[in-house]
Amino acid sequence: MSAATTAAAPPAVGRPLWRRLIGFNLLTAVILGIGGYYLGWWIGHLVTEGKSFEYTKAIDENDVALLLAYFGGVIGFLVGLGFANYPVSRMLGRPASLREKEEHGIGRYFGLCTDHKVVGIQYLCGIGLFFFVGGLNAMLIRTELLHSNPTFVGPNQYLSLVGEHGTMMMGMMTSGILGPFANYFVPIMIGARRMAFPRIEALTFWLLMAAGFILTSTIFFGGFPTGWTGYEPLNDQAVMGMDSYIMFFALVGLSMTLLGLNMLATIITMRAPGLTWSRLPIFVWAVFATSVLMVLAAPMLIATLLMAAFDRTIGTSFFVPGGGGSSYLFQNLFWFFGHPEVYILALPGFGIVLELLPVFTRKPLWGYRLAISGMLGVSLLSFFVWQHHLFVSGINADLRPFYMLSTEIISVPTGFIFLCVMGTLWKARTSFSVPMLFCIAWAFNFLIGGLSGVFLSDTPSDTDTHGSFFVMAHFHYTIMGGLIFTFFAAIYYWVPKMFGLNFNEKLAKAHFWLMFVSFNSTFLPLFALGIQGMPRRVSFYEPKFHTLNVWVSVSAFVLGVSMLIFLFNVVYSLIFVRERAVQNPWRSKSLEWQVATPVPVNNFEQIPVFDSDPYDYGTPVALAGGVGKPQVTGAGAGGG
């Protein structure tokens, strides 16, 4: 297995710094972004001079201007990064520049780069930054909830924090696993040299960064009171900060659609010879199932937000009864996207767990086909359950038995995943490295999340729990327990390949145990608070809930500390200690561990040929063979 390193060309030296600052780079992007922002702002004010926009004077706010400003800012930012270069030069009949991929040095991480491995690392760092902002919001929320009355933060700021936390996590973290890990590893796993659309791949990342910045900027415009669901007509009423939400989610939707399309095209068309569908690594299958959801669900979100933006700016009435619209319409459109969205968050987690288990149990994946049908079944069914969010809303009350059935049926394919996990663990030789610990924690968390979901899918029982902290605890178990835990599993598992460096294992284990214990100590009591009648998204609650809320807040702070341990580990291990990782520390048989570390620019010198899936653990070594067939023997020694 020799995927040889191509010799790295020496970086261009000798060019003075000022010369390097001119050109299509992050600095230009920021300058053009600011320019575009003010241009849009100015045009917006010009447009709203007319009589039909009289209300903008009365409220000292101009939604048209802000939306156009954001739009102009994003366009300027992308042009500054160089996204227009390729189409423009092709339109002018000039040869296209492929410079993006060939740059070297650390600078390529701060600009448009079409190397899927660079994009993967960009995603990991960029998403990490906004994960920090979202987590910070959560800390402020929990600080407020130390008091039973609004004391620490104001009531509007509280709602804005709740909204920003929810939106940031639901928007940014949809790409939490697909962004860094699928972009980095899917091409390698399927024996390809790049993604199908490398420029689109880079675009998805920079769109997401622009979006994250826009959402963070909401506090300059008064925040938004609607939470991540953005329900109408409250959405229409809100101040300009709401436009940040609309722009953020629309950009995230665009990024998700493009990311999904790119993944589908790559997985369908770029598999190496011999890599049939039944030999595909299970993680690639999970990415495939997720991408189907992204491509089908996210455009719905963009359309919905466009309607909301029209309601807010030019006075249409899609969602206001007074003009012939309906407040139900937004709920339906939103959840038609929103429910697949939560599976977009959950499915990559399934993939990570199933991918990692065979490595750490030294057994083949148990029930490979069952796992695939489970994931595809989840993605198919997730389009038929959305009205369970509207059980008490009064719409289509006659259809509730159907949505009860479809929602409960979705636990069958989810059950497949659990059976595969359990089957793989049976009589295994499990070693409890840090990634494995996170996988086991996933099984526990997702089980609690899933079983609490049964209460929410049952209409009579949902009458008590809908809109309460019970729901909040439920989806934190499925999303934080399901996605964030596997996100960390993936970090601890793959970072030695991505960066060629090891984490400090003691710190990693401390991070895991503190995170697991404080996570459960934070969210289990929330079930109790919910069933005792505490609604979500409130900064007022009855004094009888005070003790439990203080407990939860303190646990949440400990959870925050566990994240700081992780951050410390990143800085300590990856920057100060820099202990080289061996090429294949986990003795994995998957292809990405057989290539050299760091992975060469073109991944493989020769496209590999597959003759089996990557899970032939537990079989005698003599059976291994062929180019695409990774050999386990001595694999660990080849690192460097």
Partner: protein, 289 residues
Amino acid sequence: MSSEGVPARPPATPGEPNHLRRFGTIWIVATLIALPLVIFLLGPELPPGHGSEQASAHVTDNIVLLAMATPVLLLVVIYLVYSTIAFRQPRGGVLEGPAVRGHAGLQTAWIVITSSAVLALAAYGTVRLLADNGAGSGSGPKPLTVPKGPKLPVQVIAQQWAFTYRYPSYGGVETTHLELPVNQMVELHVTSLDVIHSFWAYQLGVKADANPAVDNVAFVKPTKIQTFEVHCAELCGIWHGGMFDHGHVVSGADFQRWIREQQVKFAPATKVLPKYSKTYAPEPTRRGE
């Protein structure tokens, strides 16, 4: 670092305990211990209590769901604990597990069992929902099933940020608090004057969204004289959390006395109220009007 010379472990080494039997025994014993505890000890304590027929029905439903969930929870948790203890890689070891890739019979059995459990749950939920006339949930303007017998209509009007209550059968008087007679079927008509709210009477097991221009009907029959909490359960703006209040379930005679007091007290306001209607659309209905 190499598995060379370490052949895959045969599926069953002599001397190895029968893991399946051991695990099965632990699980069954744990379930047999836990189930009665859940049903008989925890069950009656489950929320929302017995404030109304609907709330009592929810307690029963929650017991049934919890009784279904308990064996599943124990199965997976005990399995995880058992397999992490029993199937460890020895420290520094490089042993391989058995190369088992599946078990058709087990997979089929799993699919059949989970599917039937899920179908049973859905059927149970449907029966309970319909038999209980919506089980206290908001069931839209024309509920599929309506309880027989006389019903006291009460309108819940949500606005940013307060609930008020209107009694159409008592001259359309509107009040700031909700008071209901015990053992009387109540027909709640929940509507909103602006954004989406949700009327949640916790101890009564009632929750119904208040949408503008929509009449959302929920049925509840209070069975216990008590004070209950009213919350808004749908984010509606700055005072969403402050939109809480207490209501009272009182005896029939007390209710009559109370409603007459309200009629006198709120006579000036009642005069200027719009005619009782299923929904209201007060000005302004749109932006900038």
